[in-house]
């Protein structure tokens, strides 16, 4: 009995799933297969370039058509996961780099030294005389006499 990419063998109690490797690469097929290992017997066969065959044989009684459908769903899920992980690879790497960077004590010391240099009290030029000291602008106001 055939249904899409599924071939159901009720006599042998197994379902054969035919997969085009140009749509679902081998690592996606592996990932999907690993999910089914505990409740089914999984066997991989076929041609890696043309058509990969996955044979699923449930350890206990199970609807074979449903099993095949669930495998197809898993394939789609992992294909999407792979695509998204490739898209977000740079971001993830940046987050890890940043996490490692912030916890490196040698780099923290370097940054602190740079900050110290910036905070040194040095006189700066103000030829127009427009600079207002912070204390004067935002500091505590003296109480006005009534």
């Amino acid at each position: 009995m055939g249904e899409g990419n599924l071939k159901i063998d009720k006599k042998e109690n197994k379902v054969l799933i035919s997969i085009n490797p140009s749509i679902y690469p081998l690592d996606v097929i592996y990932s999907a297969s690993y999910v089914f290992l505990d409740k089914n017997y999984v066997f991989l066969d076929g041609d890696i370039k043309k058509r990969i065959l996955v044979e699923l044989k449930p350890k206990e009684k199970y609807d074979l058509k449903k099993l095949g459908g669930e495998f197809n769903n898993e394939l789609l899920k992992y294909a999407d996961y792979k695509k998204r992980s490739e898209q977000t690879k740079q971001v993830r790497e940046m987050i890890i780099q940043r996490a490692l960077f912030t916890n490196d004590p040698s780099i923290i010391n370097e940054v602190n030294q740079e900050e110290k240099i910036d905070l040194d009290d040095k006189e700066f030029e103000d030829p127009e005389g427009i600079a207002i000291p912070w204390e004067e602008k935002y500091g505590k106001k003296t109480k006005k006499s009534k």
Partner: protein
């Protein structure tokens, strides 16, 4: 696919899907339950398993294939 002989079970695993080292490792782990023989060909690995006990005969090859995939999964996670 899985071809059954009189007592021994023969499995043909394609090298493009099954890792040879994982197959060897699985054979070591299966030593207690069966005798084994391996023929490594250009594109495939032929494994012949002879179970020590009759009741193991039914699903031995299937369990072996699953075990190899399980080892491959573990390797991919490391």
């Amino acid at each position: 696919m899985v071809k059954k002989q009189k007592k021994a079970n023969k499995i043909i695993l394609k090298k493009s899907f099954y890792d040879l080292n994982s197959v060897k490792e699985a054979l070591k782990d299966f030593k207690k339950v069966c005798e084994s023989n391996v023929i490594i060909k250009k594109n495939s690995i032929e494994v012949i398993l002879k179970p020590n006990k009759i009741y193991l005969e039914n699903n031995l090859t299937n369990e072996f294939c699953n075990y190899v995939l399980g080892l491959m999964k573990n390797k991919s996670l490391v």
